[in-house]
């Protein structure tokens, strides 16, 4: 008998008892829907977290100064060095940076150095805009991955010459010169700010596109509303900031960008060791230490994977229960239809075609249930993701997997009842009361 005839017959049979068919399907629908919803939300969450972690820099290794200390067997931290405040000779220096670049070569893609100068209101007559003035070296600037809307980024020449130039955000321009201000018109104008007893003034050479994501990522908090006069960064050459701070090239911390992602953790250890051997061996109180985000990212990725798997396993149990429901109904249905099976055999149905008929019936239930569950699960998954602020895209693989799974379930849970039906002796089936 043809497969298409079998499918037609199965659909006919399932239509004849709509309520029962629906209730049987419900188990599969709920099972598939919950698995798909969890996978969708989980994927969205993982992707979003990974994206933001990655954009913060998997390759970035932050170095800072810390008290010399060791940890004893009981986990107590013992300070072996002298306890005192930091003085100029403790800080990282440009010499150290040069020495690192020379020693590590290609393993270091760049060193990003920055200094925060001041926060406050930049004013222009009555108008004002909140800004944070930050001095960045050229590598730190490229790390920001700014989109320049007008003018040009701060050049290496400006960096070397300590030119008093600045990059401001488009928000700054809007706040200062009105919503529809021409970005080009502000070039060569000045950013002026008074903070405490200091007066800062820089020539605008470029306008960058303010990115809310970047801001959120950097400060850890979302800005509220676009109309608000929110604080944006104003970038100036690092040397200019250092001069304004009256400090020589001294850094409390710096960020090394590893040449390859794979090397980040190792490089962190190597640089720490190098710095401590060459520059901090004789320091009585301080030593260098590093932090690489890579290990964290890897760990949180693994954690989320495990979590997703665990929740999926729980959801899979509901799928299993649904499958057993299908099997149960098939067994009941076959008992009820014993005479029908006997009649079909009398009319010439082979054991194989009887088996086929019931397997296909189970398969159709599971497949239709699976499709409905998949749609429902995707909708729920996307809705939940949206609610908690992630962008979800139902993956093709989860769609394919859920369809294959539900078909597999149909065959698996339909097989036993179908074989039972096929094995019936025709005359016993016909005589069944």
């Amino acid at each position: 008998m043809l497969l298409s005839e079998n499918i037609k017959m199965a659909i006919h049979q399932l239509k004849a008892n709509k309520l029962r068919t629906f209730l049987t399907m419900l188990g599969i629908i709920i099972g598939i829907a919950s698995v798909i919803a969890i996978i969708t939300v989980g994927d969205a969450m993982t992707k979003s977290v990974m994206n933001s972690l990655n954009s913060m820099g998997t390759n970035n290794i932050e170095f800072y100064l810390t008290s010399k200390s060791t940890t004893d067997k009981d986990g107590n931290v013992e300070t072996t060095g002298v306890e005192r405040d930091m003085k100029d000779s403790d800080y990282f220096t440009d010499k150290m940076m040069t020495s690192l670049k020379d020693s590590f070569g290609d393993r270091i893609a760049g060193i990003s150095l920055s200094a925060e100068l001041a926060n406050g209101k930049a004013t222009q007559g009555q108008k004002y805009a909140r800004i944070a003035i930050k001095g960045l070296n050229s590598y730190a600037l490229t790390q920001k991955k700014l989109t320049i809307l007008a003018g040009a980024p701060i050049s290496d020449r400006d960096q070397n010459a300590s030119s008093k130039v600045a990059l401001v955000s488009d928000r700054y321009v809007q706040n200062m010169y009105g919503q529809n201000a021409d970005l080009k018109s502000v070039l060569a104008k000045h950013v002026e700010m008074v903070s405490g007893s200091s007066y800062y003034s820089y020539t605008i050479v470029g306008v960058y596109k303010y990115s809310e994501d970047q801001n959120k990522m950097m400060t850890g908090e979302a800005s509220n509303g676009s109309g608000k006069n929110l604080q944006t960064d104003c970038y100036i050459p690092l040397s200019v900031a250092q001069q304004a701070l009256h400090s020589d090239a001294l850094y409390g911390d710096f960020t090394v960008i590893a040449g390859t992602t794979d090397d980040a953790t190792q490089l962190k250890d190597d640089i720490s060791k190098y710095l401590n051997q060459h520059f901090y061996e004789n320091n009585d109180a301080y030593m260098a230490d590093g932090y690489s985000m890579q290990a964290d990212i890897k760990q949180s990725g693994e954690m989320m994977g495990t979590l997703k798997l665990a929740i999926s396993a729980i959801a899979a149990i509901s799928l299993l229960v649904g499958g057993i429901g299908v099997m149960n109904i098939m067994v009941v249905s076959i008992t009820e239809r014993t005479r029908e099976i006997g009649t079909r055999k009398a009319l010439g149905a082979t054991n194989r075609s009887i088996k086929m008929q019931f397997i296909i019936e189970a398969l159709v239930i599971c497949l239709i249930g699976g499709i409905i569950g998949m749609i429902l699960g995707s909708v729920i998954g996307i809705a939940i993701s949206k609610m908690i602020g992630f962008v979800a895209v139902p993956s093709i693989s989860s769609v394919v997997i859920s369809l294959l799974f539900s078909m597999g379930f149909g065959v698996f849970f339909g097989y036993y009842p179908a074989s039972k039906a096929a094995k019936m002796n025709p005359i016993d089936a016909l005589r069944y009361e």
């Binding site: 009398a346 009319l347 010439g348 149905a349 005359i427």
Partner: protein, 251 residues
């Protein structure tokens, strides 16, 4: 004494059914074995209309089920259309049931929720006949039994007599060589019973189909070419004996 009652006609052609020494036992419990048929010899020639009569419990249905390959004899040989069926696999017996035998049951046994047309198409479906040919043949058969207007009706929308007519049409769908009817009129009033019997007679006379009929009605049995009487699992010579009491009820 078992008696092999020889057919009157078609003596020169080979029989449709050729049974010798058919025994059938049922196992009830572990020790008790109930022998229902004690060694039946039966020969049916093509084109015959045979009726099997006998008291309730004498083994008529048991014999019919063996003829129709729904059950296997415990011992004895059964040759159907010149081939020994005792060794056939499930696949083969299904195939023979499908092509060679048309069943008509007392309880109609139409598949519920399937239209009359679809019910008639079913044996053709198992035979692998394609859609259009199947439908045409089913319509033809519905016309033959006078049920054309009820084509799309499901069994629960039909009367007993109508159901049986659909069942007969279904039995005919693959052009079987024998029709086996186990008390086809048993659940019908005598007038409707006659309508059904007329169809069998018409099929037998006009199409030359072999019919084996089980009935409790002396009147209906007497209309057929040959009557065999079963009594306690054996054919007996004198039908008069077995008709004495319960046969009169059927008339």
């Amino acid at each position: 004494m078992p008696t092999n009652i020889k057919p009157v006609t078609n003596a020169d052609t080979s029989p449709v059914i050729d049974m010798t020494g058919i025994k059938k036992s049922f196992y009830i419990g572990t020790k008790n074995e109930l022998e229902v048929l004690h060694g039946i010899d039966l020969t049916v020639m093509p084109g015959e209309f045979l009726s099997i009569v006998g008291q309730s419990g004498s083994g008529k249905s048991t014999l019919m089920n063996i003829i129709g390959l729904l059950d296997k004899p415990t011992s004895g040989s059964y040759i159907l259309n010149s081939s020994d069926i005792s060794l056939d696999s499930d696949e083969d017996t299904s195939h023979i049931r499908n092509k060679e035998i048309g069943f008509v049951f007392q309880t109609y046994n139409l598949i519920p929720r399937m239209s009359a047309l679809k019910n008639i198409e079913l044996p053709m479906l198992y035979a692998g006949v394609h859609g259009k040919a199947r439908k045409e043949r089913a319509e033809e058969l519905l016309e033959l039994v006078g049920m054309t207007e009820r084509m799309q009706h499901t069994p629960d929308e039909l009367s007993g007599g109508q159901k049986q007519r659909v069942a007969i049409a279904r039995a005919l769908s693959n052009n079987p060589s024998i029709i086996l009817a186990d008390e086809p009129t048993g659940a019908l009033d005598s007038k409707t019973g006659h309508v059904i019997m007329d169809i069998f007679h018409k099929l037998n006379e006009e199409k030359g189909i072999t019919v084996v009929l089980i009935t409790h009605s002396h009147e209906l049995a007497s209309e057929t070419q040959r009557i065999v009487t079963l009594s306690d699992g054996l054919f007996i010579d004198n039908p008069e004996l077995s008709y004495s009491d319960n046969m009169t009820k059927g008339i």
